[in-house]
């Protein structure tokens, strides 16, 4: 998982997002501080990850964000040179616990 601090905005049909007590979306303050997560998992775990993220970060207010799902061509572990499914797999992860 990689976490980065970014700035972003959506356009909610004129409705404004609130952040730190201030309304955003005007000409002078369009971008809001956000946190971005980049997560790569094996196909079978994607739904579980989406469910976890969506349920814990849900607030119901504008600014909750979006989850984009896209395929990853390959995964390479730099330390060992492994590629593919072995490189994605984490020791002690969900697949170890359920198998």
């Amino acid at each position: 998982m990689t976490v980065s601090q970014v700035r972003g905005a959506g356009v909610q049909g004129g409705h404004k997002e609130r952040y730190a007590g201030t309304e955003y979306g005007g000409k002078t303050n369009f971008l809001v501080d956000k946190t971005r997560l980049d997560i790569v998992v094996v196909r079978s775990q994607v739904d579980k990850v989406i469910q976890t993220i969506a349920s814990t970060t849900y607030t119901g207010e504008i600014g909750d964000g979006k989850i984009f799902v896209h395929p990853v061509a390959d995964v390479i572990r730099v330390r060992t040179g492994e590629t593919g499914a072995i490189a994605e797999r984490m020791e002690g992860g969900m697949s170890d616990r359920t198998s």
Binding site: R18, Y19, A20, G21, T22, Y58, T59, G60, E61
Partner: protein
């Protein structure tokens, strides 16, 4: 308070036949006793105003009439060792919130009754003394009505919102920013705290946009909070007392809802807690049964309860304010009964609390 599992259970139980969660009655929870010990010096019998109460208590505390008065006070039951043990037990609770900011919206009956008022002020000073950082935000509807009547202006309401023409706005600004604000500041000073009275116009603490579409005059919707001044004061151990009068950025004062103002200030300060003092015990499943209180709710739980009509009327804006705060990063929000003695301390410093806690 770590009761999120309990919260989920409540949400799950709602659509399948709700079972009331009975509050866990711990007799004399440690910090309530400690609270009474610490604030025993700040309560007396027979005072007719909050100021008198505090003035009398000062005499006792400073040792003026200690022997005679101690006889009437509650701690005669506790030995010195008891008192110190209770305080010692309370340590984990105090440590949990030390240095954290807590925004308290003060209103309702607790604001009118002198004894309750003195009690809240005493609790506030206690919190500040142990290192928890309170910020007080207040409105003051009844006081405004009194002064409008004195000046011969008719108070006017439309859909629960005060119709605020220019004359009314002047009175609102004077009463909230002057009378109510300074009386609170004075009480806190008398109790040994260091208070600073502000209104939203000071250093643009609360910025608002006039809701012209509602046609009720100078009533505003909060658009921004500049929290630098409050942060400076809180860092220097002052208790800011903020009146809910906002600025429109161009010199016009606007009347904003105090709950909303408190919520947005809490968001701007990234406060640990937002506490709304009301005249009800909390969010009740059955409005006639105070024991049917929800101790913990999640955001989704609230949305469900609103949909089912269990949260209705005047509670909806308060819950909306809590949701808005939570979604902006405030850790937890609480709705407590200001009429109950030490409700503030009990909510903060015991596991079960006395009101409803809404978490993310």
């Amino acid at each position: 308070m770590s009761a999120s599992i309990q919260g989920t259970h409540l949400v799950g139980g709602i659509s399948r036949g709700w079972t009331p969660v009975r509050p866990i009655h711990r007799h004399n929870p440690p910090f309530l006793r400690a609270g009474r010990c610490l604030s025993q010096a700040l309560r007396c019998q027979g005072a007719s105003t909050a100021a008198e109460t505090i003035a009398k208590a000062r005499v006792v505390r400073d040792g003026g009439t200690r022997d005679a008065s101690m006889h009437h006070l509650e701690t005669e039951r506790f030995s010195a060792l008891d008192r110190v043990s209770i305080l010692s037990e309370a340590l984990p609770y105090l440590q949990r919130f030390r240095g954290k900011t807590v925004v308290i919206k003060y209103g309702g009956a607790a604001m009118k009754d002198p004894t309750l008022k003195a009690g809240v002020v005493a609790d506030l000073v206690l919190l500040a003394t142990v290192g928890i950082r309170p910020v007080l935000v207040h409105g003051g509807g009844p006081e405004i009505n009194i002064w409008l009547t004195k000046l011969g202006i008719e108070p006017n309401f439309k859909n629960g919102l005060r119709v605020t023409d220019e004359a009314t706005m002047d009175v609102v600004e004077m009463v909230l920013g002057g009378r109510v604000n300074k009386s609170l500041v004075t009480l806190i000073q008398q109790s040994g705290g260091r208070a600073v009275g502000l209104c939203g116009k000071d250093s643009d603490i609360i910025l608002a946009r006039q809701m012209v579409e509602k046609e009720i005059g100078f009533v505003g919707e909060v658009t921004g909070v500049r929290s630098d001044l409050i942060k400076t004061l809180v860092a220097d151990d002052y208790i800011p007392v903020v009146a809910s009068v906002a600025s429109n950025g161009a010199g016009q004062a606007l009347n904003v809802n105090a709950d909303t103002a408190a919520g947005e200030i809490a968001a701007a300060l990234q406060a640990e807690k937002l506490i709304l003092m009301t005249d009800v015990a909390g969010i009740l499943h059955d409005r006639n049964d105070p024991s049917s209180i929800y101790r913990v709710l999640t955001l989704r739980g609230c949305a469900e309860l609103v949909g089912q009509g269990i949260i209705a009327g005047g509670m909806i804006p308060k819950v909306d304010c809590c949701i808005r705060s939570l979604s902006q990063g405030v850790r937890a929000t609480h709705i407590i009964d200001g009429r109950q003695k030490h409700s503030l301390l009990m909510e903060l410093l015991t596991d079960e609390g006395v009101g409803t806690m809404i978490t993310g």
